[in-house]
């Protein structure tokens, strides 16, 4: 082990002071080089001097790998020979079908559960005086890593055979009502929802914040008038609040769909894909490290990318209409 006491401060000074200083020096050098050109050419080149470092990083870390991965997905395990669509045929057959099925469950259930709970929390928190406290508490888990969240919930879901004392919170509550303990992480279908709920617990704060801010922008005079006319709270929510916050609902759904696509940590830590809970991001890790199959891993990654594509298009569309208005 490297000596932490000297190594860590050294790294921090290097990365948080040394590298930024180098970035500024590079910008200064670039600016000085620009003065060598006569006016017009210098002005045209300037944006690229400034964009150079950010752009190089994005190309290196995102754009170049995306292109290479798409090519590799048509190659064999060692990424040497072209094998056409075989990797994709594999990705949609046999045991992979269950994994893809689990992903579809995540893609549908996780955003919907999060949305419904966030609509409830955002609407109801708005009605109570201790809203800041409730909001802070719901936000807390958004700071917790998926890994730590998985440790926390592994204990919450802990299971002992019927008859012995239950250490896990959920099974202790079931015992309180005389129900048999449930092996939350082992029993099929239940375990998928148990894992999905961990993600809901971790991410609800984000959805609640977005919806809460939208709800507070709905005109209060309009709502007050409706209340004076004797409209019930449910009718007000359905007919006045909900239509007004639809754009934010869309934002929550797309954000959560992307989170569901990427989900890896929870499955990797809590079940490692056992008991019928595997998802493609975890399988990709397996193909990469245990099976060493670059072609399979790339095909899985491309499938993830293409599933995210509609969301990217929605974002671009919204961005353009926002920019125009």
């Amino acid at each position: 082990m490297t000596d932490t006491l000297t190594f860590v401060p050294l790294m921090i000074v290097l990365g948080a002071i040394g590298v930024p200083a180098a970035v500024f020096a590079a910008l200064g050098a670039g600016e000085r080089a620009l003065t060598l050109f006569s006016g017009g050419a210098g002005r045209r080149a300037r944006p690229w001097v400034w964009l150079f470092l950010p752009l190089i990083l994005v190309i290196l870390i995102l754009i170049y790998p995306v292109i290479v991965t798409i090519f590799t997905s048509f190659q064999d395990a060692r990424a040497e020979n072209w094998i056409g669509w075989q990797n994709y045929a594999w990705a949609f057959s046999g045991q992979m079908l269950d994994i893809v099925g689990n992903n579809i469950l995540w893609l549908v259930a996780f955003p919907l559960i999060t949305l419904v709970l966030a609509l409830a929390s955002a609407t109801l928190f708005d009605k109570v005086r201790y809203e800041p406290l409730a909001m802070t508490i719901v936000i807390l888990p958004t700071a917790i890593s998926f890994t730590a969240g998985s440790v926390i919930w592994t204990q919450m879901y802990s299971f002992q055979p019927s008859g012995s004392p239950q250490i896990g919170t959920l099974n202790a509550i079931r015992a309180l009502f005389g129900a048999d303990p449930l092996p939350w992480l082992i029993q099929p279908v239940v375990n998928n929802f148990a894992l999905i709920f961990v993600a809901v617990w971790l991410q609800l704060g984000i959805a609640t914040l977005i919806l809460s801010s939208a709800i507070k922008n709905v005109g209060s005079e309009m709502l007050e008038a409706a209340r004076l006319d004797g409209a019930g709270e449910w009718l007000i929510f359905r007919a006045m609040i909900l239509p007004n916050i639809l754009p934010s609902v869309l934002v929550v759904l797309t954000t959560m769909i992307i989170a569901a696509l990427k989900v890896f940590d929870i499955v990797y830590v809590m079940t490692n894909g056992n008991f019928g809970t595997d998802v493609i991001a975890n399988r990709l890790y397996y193909e990469l490290f245990a099976a060493n199959n670059l072609g399979h891993a790339s095909a899985i990654a491309v499938i993830l990318l293409f599933t995210a594509l509609p969301v990217a298009l929605i974002n671009i569309f919204q961005f353009r209409s926002e920019a125009r208005s």
């Binding site: 190594f7 930024p20 400034w50 507070k216 209060s220 991001a281 899985i300 961005f319």
Partner: protein
């Protein structure tokens, strides 16, 4: 708050005092019950983690965490074990050595990129903005196969700067996206008077853009720190097999798999890993909220 408030990213948040006039008909009991259920459901798991971390090994093995409230028999033994045997101090150190530079560099390069994108006119500006927006949703998995190979070829794998490079590059589209609205709202007069004074572009950037953008940079900084600190996949893949202690997420994920140490030290280690980000968002909640709301693509 200085300078340029962007109406789109200064949302009216939940400061109840600011809008006293709003309805406040007394809510029914059912509303309170549901809100309390949310509070309990979202706070109990964290409480369970904390109490489990300060119970004795024997207690943890035989009864649930709530017994710590009934008959408290508390000890710091788990923390001693975690620091002593699970290399948690080294892991927290590595996590800091990754997250702090990543945060600083993400913020710096995002401001530079956003400034160029917003202030300077050039062919391809719109195309570049659209490219950034579409990169917002790229799953990290798509980058792994080529980058693992590249990192191995150039000797970056197993090194902490390699992790900075990845996390900064991956977060940059979000950073530029979050900052551009704010920087666009800095009044043009400020630039013009700087120009008249003969200030260079770099000087203008240093003395106008950086100071005025401080609030939104704080928001981005929090998000970047949380993502970096909480990331498991990238350090798990790119830092393996090096002499460095694994960062805290990788260490925790490994501890879950092996059950020999018992639950107590694992809970202590987990609590130590969440206390830094929890303190951060509690103390800087305003900036965190702005980061969330400003980063969502709005309709």
């Amino acid at each position: 708050m200085t300078g340029a408030p962007d109406p789109a990213i200064t949302p009216r948040t939940f400061s109840s005092g600011a809008r006293k006039g709003r309805r406040r008909r007394l809510p029914g009991t059912l509303v309170h019950v549901v809100v309390l259920l949310f509070i309990v459901g979202w706070v109990v798991p964290i409480l369970a983690l904390f109490l489990s971390s300060i119970r004795t090994q024997a207690d943890t093995a035989s009864s649930g965490w709530w017994m710590a409230l009934v008959r408290p028999d508390l000890s710091l033994q788990n923390y001693a074990l975690a620091l002593d045997q699970l290399n948690i101090a080294g892991s927290l150190g590595t996590s800091l050595a990754i997250a702090i530079p990543t945060t600083v560099l993400t913020v710096l390069l995002s401001v530079i990129g956003a400034y160029a994108l917003v202030r300077m006119r050039f062919a391809g500006r719109t195309a570049l903005s659209l490219l950034l927006v579409s990169l917002l949703v790229t799953p990290p998995q798509i980058t792994l196969v080529p980058l693992l190979r590249l990192y191995n070829q150039v000797g970056l794998s197993g090194s902490i700067p390699g992790i900075w490079l990845y996390q900064v590059g991956f977060t940059l589209p979000f950073g530029v996206f979050l900052l551009r609205g704010f920087i666009a709202s800095i009044p043009k007069d400020l630039y013009e008077s700087a120009n008249l004074d003969g200030a260079s572009e770099l000087r203008t950037f240093w003395s106008i853009v950086l100071p005025l953008s401080r609030p939104i940079m704080a928001s981005l900084g929090i998000m970047a720190f949380l993502w970096s600190w909480n990331d498991l996949l990238i350090p798990l893949l790119f830092l393996g097999g090096s002499g460095v202690s694994p960062p805290i997420t990788v260490n925790l994920a490994g501890l879950v798999a092996q059950t020999t140490q018992g639950q107590g030290p694992l809970m202590a280690a987990t609590f130590l890993s969440v206390i830094v980000p929890l303190m951060l968002i509690i103390s800087m909640q305003r900036y965190f909220v702005r980061g969330i709301l400003g980063g969502a693509v709005k309709g």
